[in-house]
Symmetry: D3
Subunit: 237 residues, 6 copies
């Protein structure tokens, strides 16, 4: 399926709201064969460094089901610790989602976004951001409906996508096969107002020029606009 896509096209995207009945917010996001379950949990407590400040926090955990991948991966719980890759990814997702929350409006409470990868075919961290935003948005609406906050603490939309250079050519939204072949792999998160929140690019095979960076960001912008449109449709249902 990926082969028929044009280089500047997203894979088919599907976001299912309210996927997990127990959570204050949730979404199943599918980008091609990549599927991530995102849930938002509201808790009336904050980490120690925020106690008695009246402001809140958003934190994130990222994990993969053992058979989300071609070869089974060992559970972190069996290894007794969270792997470096999960740590890096969940830190990025957290930073990005925090960028669109007004913590004073949120008040002294936490929202935990859990991103559990059901199926991994490239782009799990960006799908987690795009889907995690929907779960976060549901949780914010829940807070408003419950009268727990006066104003919705959400300040903007946010979504993320990967771009890369494969055989010297730009490609949007890399699946696993493209990702494995990419010379450069980049993940970009952008708000609804078109501003950057996270730019993270690595030359896996071949260093790249400043011009290529500019082009990649432009291509990502195109994809992100479509993702945010999708988020809006989903959330307006």
């Amino acid at each position: 399926m990926a082969k028929k896509r044009k280089w500047d096209q997203l894979r088919p995207v599907k976001i299912t709201r309210g996927f997990m009945k127990n959570a204050e917010g949730s979404a199943l996001i599918e980008m091609g064969e990549t599927k991530v379950i995102c849930t938002a949990t509201v808790e009336e407590s904050v980490p120690p460094f925020l106690r008695d400040t009246g402001t809140g926090w958003v934190t994130t955990e990222y994990s993969m089901l053992p058979r989300s991948t071609q070869e089974r991966i060992r559970r972190d719980s069996v290894r007794g610790k969270i792997g470096g890759r999960s740590h890096e990814i969940q830190r990025i997702i957290g930073r990005v989602l925090r960028a669109v929350i007004d913590f004073e409006k949120l008040g002294e409470r936490s929202i935990t976004i859990d991103c559990d990868v059901m199926q991994a075919d490239g782009g799990t961290r960006t799908a987690s951001i795009t889907g995690g935003f929907v779960a976060l948005s549901e949780a914010c609406s829940y807070l408003v409906k419950q009268g727990l906050v006066e104003e919705n603490p959400l300040t903007d939309y946010i979504a993320a996508v990967s771009v890369g250079i494969v055989n010297d050519k730009l490609v949007l939204d890399l699946d696993y096969e493209l990702d494995a072949a990419a010379e450069v792999d980049m993940n970009i998160a952008m708000t609804g107002s078109g501003l950057l929140v996270e730019v993270q690019g690595t030359a896996e095979e071949k260093p790249f020029s400043k011009n290529k960076l500019t082009e990649m960001v432009k291509l990502a912008e195109k994809g992100i606009k479509q993702l945010i449109k999708k988020q809006k449709e989903t959330l307006s249902k």
Copy 2:
């Protein structure tokens, strides 16, 4: 929904085969609001105690997604260890599924059954057994198709269900609400030929008589027969 059920009725059961595209076998089992993803992974290696014996093994891991429950539960990977409850449950599931495998026919390889609870509303361990069997069965068929085994190592069907005593009355297939109110909680696994493989019952509130034990086993048998019928339908598709 549970309230309309009769005491001797199962909750609505749905088993979806091939739910996870990467695994050698998989099933999503839904028993009422309880949903468990079961996958089977074939690996060409065995634990040390079986090396060079020519016989194989089936092992099981059980885990819950953080928001499978009403209140978010901490991940075992964050706690740095698998909790006692998960340990107990995955040991039981493993024992039960091993009862219907001929390890000589399986040959010197392992099948790992992963049971990841997406939504928990009581009966996750018995649902894991019933759904895990479908994943295991798919993996066995895969081994036959691939020519890796001469004969299918599966020796029988197997399924499990919970029964309990609530307000002095027998109830089949307890959901969370019934489970919390139960005086006795029992999990029973039985083969397609109607023989017992695991009987595990605990008086949570009130010790029970030998007669009650006999009645509970009979009630479980009724439910298990329906579950095995469901397995057969699912696997014949």
Copy 3:
């Protein structure tokens, strides 16, 4: 020695009260070559979920000395975690002993039962229950004597024994050799009033019929009555 026993006979049982001078309650239980040190520790605190409820808790830890077995076993402390088998066993022991305690009478305090296996020759979990009850009973008497509780929180006696099917025949109180040969292995805990508290049976080799289950429970009852008689003798000294 085991070979001379009749199939419906217990191994020689010996319970030594007050075996550990520092504990609020303690017993050394010997069932044949199986020897378990049980201690009860009273602490004036409860787990978080019981704080300010005025009710208490009984919890259990189970461990084996490295050379309690034929081959030395690695310490859990060296492995950095408690193994699955220990977890499963200590959860069962805890559930069973809690069945004979009135937690309101106990008040907001905890009793921890430590079961340390000195020598393992089959039946360590059931010996832990039978001996753990004696330690628990001593600790309850201590609470009464100290004036910490008004009434003894103990509501009944409780003991446990294993039964099994070996070569198609029922056997009571399996030692290691019998256990290794057993087709079915079952552990049953029963109160002084003859009611069941825990029934846990597994077909290791061969599934079993409902009739066999009934017979096994009857045989266990016979053994448990003798064990409770022994507990009474020991505690009356």
Copy 4:
């Protein structure tokens, strides 16, 4: 001191080669008050995924001394696990340094770069890259001198620097105080030939435009050229 610097100036940089007598390569890098000890260790083994491929690997570990910071930080060894921040940083350093190594020329061996922060005043991850390169370069020369490789596996120079936006203005090489005040914080790694290897920027306070991204990369380039000049001077001594 930082206040007197111009916005486009690096802090004073000092790199001391051969700082640790036991390592195959080592450097102490000082950027203002930030001090990092970098060592390179050559080992004649590779991770499992590279065995029998004839190609090698470069891996990195990053850690902070407890009093490298204003408030003492707990050791990871006492916490029993590596923190998320260390994990994220050491993964980035590793990716960057691997970009200038020809793994076929390196042959089937590993080089481990240890970055131990003695004093932290902002920019420890970029200082680790710049100093780590010097240690890596020394280790490569060692391999050549020892006749272990035919050709030096190093393909280019590489250094990294942070840039940021503070009060809407661009700043190069943020110290702790500037970093804490920054709206955007970006780390950029570039080769001697002026190509990008890693771009990682986060809007801590305020999302930023594509133009700002372009300006930040240009400013970083200016600083990195000076750092690579410094590396060349140091390595030519």
Copy 5:
């Protein structure tokens, strides 16, 4: 009881050989109220640093049962790691016992000495050495009897005792009460030929002079001679 002892007298000592039927060597040592179970396990493997050297190793593990003490101590397995005190003690015991083994005669195999403190009333580490020697000696005889070694690898007897300064006066073999009051606490291990193997003394309350050190060693020697006499009697039975 301790109060009636003279300052230069040992507490009553009792050593029971063959206390644990499964081990290749074992002893229960009682020094007053201190009781330690010592077992020796022979394994036909050595740590990596000794592979293919033809020489063996003796290693030691030390642990306390939860209610060996007045207040229950948390298990290392629950804490997920071995505490610093246990680590220090087991390293000392290992060093001392290795001093009387000829590792070439032992051949490429290991003996593990497990010291499990059943009851702690001061002097558990020295009791572990004295009792551990008996277990080690039994294991060496076992190796001779089995024809696994040509000559007994034991080169001498070894025992240990504590001495201290309490209220400015020397005391031999401190129990818990004396130990808590001691200004200086010293543990000394000596061979059958009267030579020192380990001297470890700490001024808990008050630094001490070189003369006091000399006196303490002499007093320890007196006690150790009696302990070695006891070992000989025990082993000749």
Copy 6:
């Protein structure tokens, strides 16, 4: 260099005060090629057992940088636990430094001494004590200057050195090469007033007589006097 030293001479000693700008006290100690960074951290809290007693505590952590040694050593944080050797050493350092602190004068606060070995060439634990004392002394002066204590809680100087027997001859201050060849290895800590605080000696190869012990302590005393002179010079600057 070590070879030219006489048997009763220390290696060249250098102590640099205030080596780490963030700590309340710090020193870099160099004894020949052994280099240890010592820092003292003052915290206004105490371990649980001292709460509300008005008295304080001194605790110590010891660690080695991965390339402080000839072969790289794995980090404790990667192994997930502190090794036995580090545990033993940091316990000894803590005991010794506590011997020269008046905890009532210190008040209810803690001082943590971190000893991080930069380069290891024998004698790291004794260097940690000698250098740790300088860091501790600086921290005490800091407390006085800040008006946090009325009187300096330091009661005396303290330093430590190793002595050994190599080829039947006494040697002071063993470097790695001598240590590896030593028949006996001893670490001694002594106060400014010439009293012993810790004596810890082990016969690595050959048990030793009481006379040898006396001689070793005398030789250590000679070295320690010079070290304390060095401490005084350093602290008076």
